[in-house]
């Protein structure tokens, strides 16, 4: 009971924060920053407590709240933690205060609006993860666009309006087809069972004909694939990342992209299992194309932010590959990779923001030998770069390794049966690891070592605030790398459930239970 209350509080604290911000008198930027930071910090503390209380041996929904919201349509306010979302909610709540603190010095214009939007996006992101009702999920999913539109558009760089419109129009197009699919799904379930329901648990039990499944998976998948993003739907991402302010980039890379992979894991694949099985080779192929193509593009960029943006496309390819492996290790690796990428890419974007605040350029060529003038910065940057490559003991290793291992494990028996594609994909995916090492190490080498070069010298090394942010991030990265057992035990049952749902053989329609 107390936990359920706390979970609701986790969701709604940012809203309370926005209300509190509205009451601050004009010109009190420091107070606004403090309110936003502490709201997010409390949110994280509560989430951490819930994470500790989370029962790893319970496969069901925990700390759930279910209240009728639009009873006529069978829509419920239905939230809860399970193995699918527990790590992602924790990641979101963890990054929240860091994002807020990271923007203390960068955002000086329209401070109140900025932190209101950060809180709003935090609300919608946590809501998307927690929702157990498709209507609620869609509501949060789509509402997320609005604060992001403003964050990029108001505080972004030179081409911010182009970038933000591209981002919104791209993602909204996916969403509108998903909306059509949501309606069709619910309507068709109602027509076969007579019950109008949006609850995920009920929707999993729908048994749709294969052709319908393929169309609906395409509609859901388009929306999710744009968010992930999967090549060739990725073109909004570099623009959005480059033009967004640091906080926007961190939110985008840290959490927003995981919405897509989470959507596939929680909804897209389990809702339409036969279609997923049919399309699995195509999904895996696209994932590998994303891995390799993203890495190749990252290699040739001249803008630091773009390197990290394209590396995100590559890293999230592993998540998709793990999800498409239908193998327990692969699935768990995918989940770990989501969290790891959130920490690592979020951290890298924060670091780019820190150097940008000092030098006002993101051109790689403008930098060199930072290790000599900013030793502390260089240490943190190197750690994050190595974590991004997937060095053992960091979180990046756990995720990537397991995802690849899982895919290999499922590809090998297929190879023995004469199926060549999966094993070829697995080999190609491994080459992505090498490419990843190449672009990341090269980036670190060009920026940190060699001839000392930096505009606007001299400037101070990391401030106490920046150090605290990075220490928190690095600690989390090592914790996940060294002690993955805790988090993985919490996601294991969900991974099993996902595998069972997705590999379920086609079965005749079964009646749904009456809503409780």
């Amino acid at each position: 009971m107390r936990e359920a209350l706390a979970l609701n509080l986790v969701l709604f604290l940012p809203v309370a924060g926005i209300v509190a911000l509205a009451t601050v008198p004009r010109g009190r930027g420091d107070r606004i920053r403090a309110i936003a930071f502490w709201t997010l910090a409390i949110q994280f503390a509560l989430t951490a407590w819930l994470y500790a209380r989370f029962d790893a041996s319970d496969a069901g929904l925990q700390f759930a709240t279910r209240l009728p919201w639009i009873p006529d349509w069978g829509v419920y306010y239905f939230i809860g933690l399970d193995g699918y979302n527990v790590l992602l909610v924790l990641l979101t709540a963890f990054l929240g205060p860091l994002v807020a603190a990271g923007a203390f010095s960068a955002i000086t214009r329209d401070v109140r609006l900025f932190y209101s939007m950060v809180l709003a996006i935090q609300f919608t992101m946590v809501g998307t993860f927690l929702a157990q009702d498709l209507f609620l999920f869609y509501l949060f999913w789509e509402a997320m666009l609005i604060p992001m539109f403003l964050i990029i558009g108001i505080w972004g760089g030179e081409r911010r309006i182009y970038a933000t419109l591209k981002f919104v129009l791209y993602t909204a197009f996916g969403s509108i087809l998903m909306l059509a699919a949501v309606i069709y799904l619910v309507v068709s379930i109602k027509s076969t069972t007579g019950i109008e329901t949006f609850a995920f648990a009920d929707l999993y039990r729908s048994r749709l004909p294969l052709d319908t499944q393929v169309i609906l998976l395409a509609a859901f998948g388009l929306s999710f694939a744009i968010k992930v993003p999967i090549v060739p739907l990725h073109t909004w991402l570099p623009d959005a990342h480059v033009e967004a302010p640091t906080a926007g980039s961190v939110i985008l890379a840290g959490v927003l992209l995981k919405m897509g992979t989470y959507g596939f894991m929680k909804l897209g694949f389990p809702l339409f299992p036969q279609a997923t099985q049919l399309l699995a080779p195509a999904i895996a192929t696209l994932a590998v194309v994303s891995i390799v193509y993203g890495a190749c593009l990252a290699l040739v960029q001249t803008d630091v932010k773009k390197v990290i943006a394209y590396s995100s496309i590559s890293h999230l390819g592993y998540v998709m590959l793990g999800l498409a492996s239908f193998n327990l290790l692969g699935i768990q690796g995918a989940v770990m990779q989501m969290v790891s990428h959130g920490l690592v890419a979020g951290g890298l974007f924060l670091m780019v923001g820190m150097i940008y605040e000092r030098c006002h350029t993101r051109e790689i060529a403008a930098y060199g030998g930072l290790a000599k003038i900013l030793p502390l910065y260089a240490v943190f940057f190197a750690i994050l770069a190595l974590a991004s490559i997937g060095l053992p003991t960091t979180s990046g290793f756990t995720g990537e390794f397991l995802a690849l291992l899982g895919y290999f494990t499922s590809a090998w028996p297929q190879y023995l049966q004469g199926e060549r594609l999966p094993i070829a994909l697995a080999v190609a995916a491994v080459s992505g690891v090498i490419l990843g090492a190449l672009y990341m190490l090269w980036l670190a080498q060009r920026m940190l070592f060699g001839e000392t070069r930096a505009p606007h010298r001299p400037f101070p090394d990391l401030t106490g605030r920046e150090r605290a942010i990075l220490v928190a991030l690095v600690a989390a990265i090592f914790a996940l790398g060294l002690f993955p057992a805790g988090p993985m035990s919490r996601t294991e049952l969900a991974a099993r459930q996902y595998r069972e749902l997705v590999t379920a053989p086609a079965a005749p329609a079964v009646a749904l239970e009456q809503p409780r």
Binding site: D72, L113, E142, I146, G153, I161, I176, L177, A180, V187
Partner: protein, 462 residues
């Protein structure tokens, strides 16, 4: 039919009539014109309260058999129209300090109340004319710009065409069925008789003209643009709501039949696409809203594709959400001595730095009209498309949704101007007046209720 039934069943109308009489008496007595706003507000509030309480009690009566009857759905429809009138009146003070405006608005409202309770084409025609005639005058009343006379004439001529079409359709239906009752329309929906089908199509065209569904929309951009802001708000929200609610009454729960299905699936889709595309290129807010209202008329007619029993609910919720958000936009639009300047989107650039509350409210209105969650416009759109898809019109539903996607761009463009653009040098904006701000708050409160507790609002609609 007895006197007490007539008295109770038409009480909202009587209250409005009392208001009109009081306003006319005030005109003769030459009292202060500020009183006029008070009288008309009191009349509309009282009429709205009466309609709501009739709906709550489930009151149903037939004061004039075959001509006019009252049921909870009718009272709810009247309450919606009257409720939308309240913000329209509140934002009118700066533009219309005189009494004329209020007499015209109350007369128009009387027509709206009559329309939604009509049982026969005679009453319906009477209601539509009473609704429209004052609006023609309201358009001319605006600022006496040269183009407003032209626009009003255009509106008048096309409105006259709509009336003629409606009468012709009613005549054909009378010829086919021997009755002027609205049920002759419902029966004709399923008929194969040429006269009946032609009658149905003509009546539909009349409604398309009134609701500005493409390709019958050409009067709307000119009329909306030439009228002053409160009148535009009145036309965009209340008139459209009354027409659609009357259409809901006309169709009832009858299945559409082949002829009507074709036209109701095709023209609204055209309307959505054309309205949204044309709205992208408008330099002024009123023209933009006019084209967007063409698109919204398209969504609204999609509701008729849905199953009969669900139509009224979908339309009622939609016109309420759409009306409230439009009124919010007009209420917080910064006043300007020059009516043309007030309208230009360029003048909204960087408004967040001059009038932050107005900018936020305007942005909420735009995002809701775009149908983005969590605002009420999303739930309204969801309801309509869900019903259409549930009734088997999947392809049309998907096309309509994709069409609605086209609309997102120009609404976002307004938000972009408000928040992301630098104001041109020398731009000043006044805060909305006290009453207009009050109207904005009222709309905002309604929007919050509809977003947070949509289930409760839907439950209120029979």
């Amino acid at each position: 039919m007895n006197a007490s039934t007539i008295f109770i069943a038409m009480l909202p109308e009587h209250v409005l009539l009392a208001g009109i009489v009081a306003l006319l008496a005030l005109e003769i007595a030459g009292g202060r014109s500020r009183l006029a706003l008070g009288i008309s507000l009191a009349a509309v509030l009282a009429a709205c309260a009466v309609a709501l309480s009739l709906a709550q009690q489930g009151y149903a009566a037939v004061p004039f058999p075959g001509q006019l009857s009252v049921a909870p759905a009718v009272s709810v429809a009247q309450a919606i129209v009257l409720a939308l009138a309240i913000p329209s009146l509140l934002i009118s003070r700066d533009d219309f300090p005189g009494r004329t405006f209020h007499v015209l608005v109350l007369s128009s409202l009387y027509g709206a109340c009559l329309m939604v309770s009509a049982d026969s084409f005679l009453t319906l025609f009477l209601g539509i004319e009473l609704l429209s005639l004052p609006v023609y005058a309201l358009v001319v009343l605006a600022y006496r710009r040269p183009e407003s006379a032209e626009a009003a004439l255009k509106y008048l001529v096309l409105g006259g065409t709509a009336s003629a079409t409606l009468l012709m359709g009613a005549a054909l239906l009378f010829g086919a069925s021997g009755s002027l009752g609205l049920e002759s329309f419902r029966l004709a929906l399923d008929s194969r008789d040429g006269f009946a089908v032609a009658g149905v199509l003509l009546v539909l065209v009349a409604f398309f003209l009134k609701a500005a569904v493409a390709p019958f929309h050409t009067w709307a951009p000119d009329a909306y643009d030439a009228a002053s802001v409160p009148v535009t708000a009145f036309m965009a929200t209340l008139v459209k709501a009354a027409v659609l609610l009357a259409a809901a009454r006309l169709f009832g729960t009858a299945p559409l039949g082949p002829a009507a299905t074709g036209i109701i699936a095709a023209l609204p889709l055209l309307s959505i696409a054309w309205g949204n595309l044309a709205a992208m290129r408008q330099p002024g807010l009123r023209r933009m809203i006019a084209y967007s209202s063409v698109a919204h008329a398209g969504y609204l007619f999609y509701a008729f594709l849905g199953e009969g029993a669900l139509r009224f609910q979908a339309i009622a919720f939609y016109v309420l959400a759409y009306g409230v958000m439009n009124l919010l936009a007009f209420a917080v639009l910064p006043p300007d001595g020059d009516d043309r300047a007030r309208d230009r989107l360029d003048n909204l650039k960087g408004l967040v730095h001059r009038q932050p509350y107005a900018a936020v409210a305007l942005a909420i209105a735009m995002l809701s009209l775009a149908g983005l969650p969590p605002f009420p416009g999303f739930i309204a759109k969801f309801l309509i498309f869900k019903n259409a898809i549930a009734a088997g019109y999947t392809l049309y539903g998907v096309l309509g949704l994709v069409g609605s996607y086209l609309g997102i761009y120009f609404y976002l463009r307004v938000v972009q101007y408000l928040f992301m653009s630098e104001a041109p040098a020398g731009t000043r904006s006044c805060a909305p007046g006290g009453l207009a701000a009050g109207a904005g708050l009222l709309c905002l409160a309604a929007a919050v209720v509809m977003s947070v507790a949509p289930g409760w609002v839907i439950d209120l609609l029979p």
